[in-house]
Assembly symmetry: C2
Homo-oligomer: 242 residues x 2
Amino acid sequence: MHRTIGVIGGLGPWATLDFFEKILRLTPARRDQEHLRLVIDNNPKIPDRGPAILGEPGAEDPLPALVATARAVEAAGADLIVIPCNTAHFFYEHIRRAVRVPVLHIMEEVARAAAARMPDLTRVGLLGTRATVATGLYQKAFAPAATEVLAPDPRGQAVIDRLIYAIKGGRADEALRAEGASVGRRLGEAGAGAIILGCTELQLVLGEGNLGLPVLDSNQILAEAAVREATRPQVAPHEVPV
Amino acid sequence: MHRTIGVIGGLGPWATLDFFEKILRLTPARRDQEHLRLVIDNNPKIPDRGPAILGEPGAEDPLPALVATARAVEAAGADLIVIPCNTAHFFYEHIRRAVRVPVLHIMEEVARAAAARMPDLTRVGLLGTRATVATGLYQKAFAPAATEVLAPDPRGQAVIDRLIYAIKGGRADEALRAEGASVGRRLGEAGAGAIILGCTELQLVLGEGNLGLPVLDSNQILAEAAVREATRPQVAPHEVPV
């Protein structure tokens, strides 16, 4: 029996759609019933994470809505929960403690995938929201591997933030995409051996093609982890230590 | 305030993904929070509808799972429910009665769209599963408009069924798509002025381009109806007749 994947979605909606598609592509199924059950709460009404984390004036706290959404997907049958949004992982511990089922951690999954695929990686570039970079979530996840995380300078970071909000608003034009790609390439020139696409919107417009470096696509890695956990053989009751 | 759209999904998963994408494309949003909330239960474990309706030996009854899924999305916050699967509408009345929120009816929405866009349509072709055709759901929805519904002959219907299951299994090759399109074109030769894509998988491979006729895409029409209902201004309490 497969486990049901609960998705705290809508952060943003296009990233959730992309995550859903990745799950379908990762599932070897010849008919409907071989696919996985997902309970997706695509809840874009959750207040913006970045401004709240950065303490911007007037920013609304997204935590109550994040917790309510986690509980809604758990109540609807989720056996494990994912959050296809990097920035929201600032609230990870609060969300995890609010439910009984496991919640995957996107940064830990990306670090795990990097260790498996690129064991000699000494420096990795990080493209994500200003809040994701500022909270140090990736720096912490990569610390055990002694991999240094390189972030853009303030000017480059401003370009990435503009790009992310443009993708959310459906207006990421070619010039802005090219500008974003060049920020990533500069991290490569500074010594990064790979680029973390550390915002689940970025893989919609950036990739190895325009970055010229291997990428760690956080949305793809989270989808792979979700499928791994949903299809992992379950321990039979008599095998549970008592 | 927008209403939350509940989706009884996974029937099949690719149709649900396509429905979700259509909702996002139909929503004019410049930022996450302007998008609609959707609660999607992508539940491909629901038993196959066709064999159960046609009374095939060994077919499992999908109704209990359909009802449970409807109740799950209602409990998770849905204000209205959609079922992006034509065949499942055979069970519509049972599902509708199991929840307190409205459930849109895909055939009625297609007939309404046809009446608005093509008021002079006297004959319409129907491509859908054998069960959808056999249950007469489209024939009933188009009866008030006196529009005759033309279905393929048994040989053509077998091609369409094969095509639908191939799409579900990710193996709809070019030859099979071409064969499916020619079944649709023959309905045009028999007098159909438009083709109903009456299975939410078919628009993934058929369209005006290969059919050579205007199409009524049931998944697109259902998405438009869902956005219409989710964004419709609400009656203020004092306007409710008592």
